[in-house]
Amino acid sequence: MANITKELKNVEQKIEHGIVEGVNKAKEVLANVARHIPLANIMHNKKKDTYTIEIDLPGVKKEDIQVTIEGNYLIVSAERKMKQELKEDDYYLLESKYGKYYRAFYLSDDIDRDSIDAKYEDGRLIITFEKVASKKRKDIAVK
């Protein structure tokens, strides 16, 4: 009887060990994959004919943000790193999401890709586009 319990405990430990190892491996793999989607706000100013995309990226350093235009997509990727020597375990409460962020936005035809302007301000990435010149709002004087 004692042998059976011993054996069972052994099996249990092996399973536990296997699970922990598996989770660690998965974590390793996932560390290189963008896991978080940042919150975004998109607006259009009809008077100035500008489009603005605001992306919340609190705690991200300016140099850890990449903005690229690929085909018809605007791609924003960023990484939020832990401060200096801090680890997750150093926190009592950790509600922020650290790691890689990724989001793509489709650019319609009437957006002038060359007019792109990006700035980082108060934890937010602000990207603005102008409308293609020929499609801009025009006020015509009546003679």
Partner: protein
């Protein structure tokens, strides 16, 4: 013979659920609703050897729109995330961020040095440093008998 009214109510379950739902809303959010709180920001807290740290995520909030108050042993961070003046007349295609008033309170530990609390706002993160009180060493004192 009595006519017994059927007590069957097809909406009974739904009604019960609705009642429960309102109850939950009332008990947990009464204060927030009274103060018109729109959202609760994400927070990280940690402790170092000499101080406690509170980090509050406040992207898009202006420094001047943040208040930090201490009342007895409670530290309260409140403020408002406003839509930028230049976007007030824009058409919003998508709004995922929270706008409006926010508030979050923390109970301060006993050894917190309230007088020396510092706060810094950078990259949308408000970091509050709460130094620990330097403990006065209680060396046993020997009194000599004259």
């Amino acid at each position: 013979m009595k006519i017994v009214r059927s007590s069957y109510n097809p909406f009974a379950e739904l009604e019960a659920l609705a009642e429960q739902f309102t109850k939950v809303l009332q008990t947990t959010k009464e204060d927030d609703i009274a103060k018109d709180i729109a959202f609760v920001p994400a927070v990280n807290t940690r402790e170092a050897d000499d101080a406690y740290y509170i980090e509050v995520e406040l992207p898009g909030v202006k420094k001047e729109d943040i208040n930090i108050d201490i009342d007895e042993n409670t530290l309260t961070i409140s403020g408002e995330r406003k839509i930028k003046e230049e976007h007030k007349e824009d058409t919003f295609y998508k709004v995922e961020s929270y706008y409006g008033k926010f508030e979050r309170s923390f109970a301060l530990p006993e050894d917190a040095d309230v007088e020396k609390i510092e706060a810094e706002f950078k990259d949308g993160i408000l970091e509050i440093k709460i130094p620990k009180k330097v403990q006065v060493e209680n060396k046993p004192k020997k009194i000599e008998i004259k």
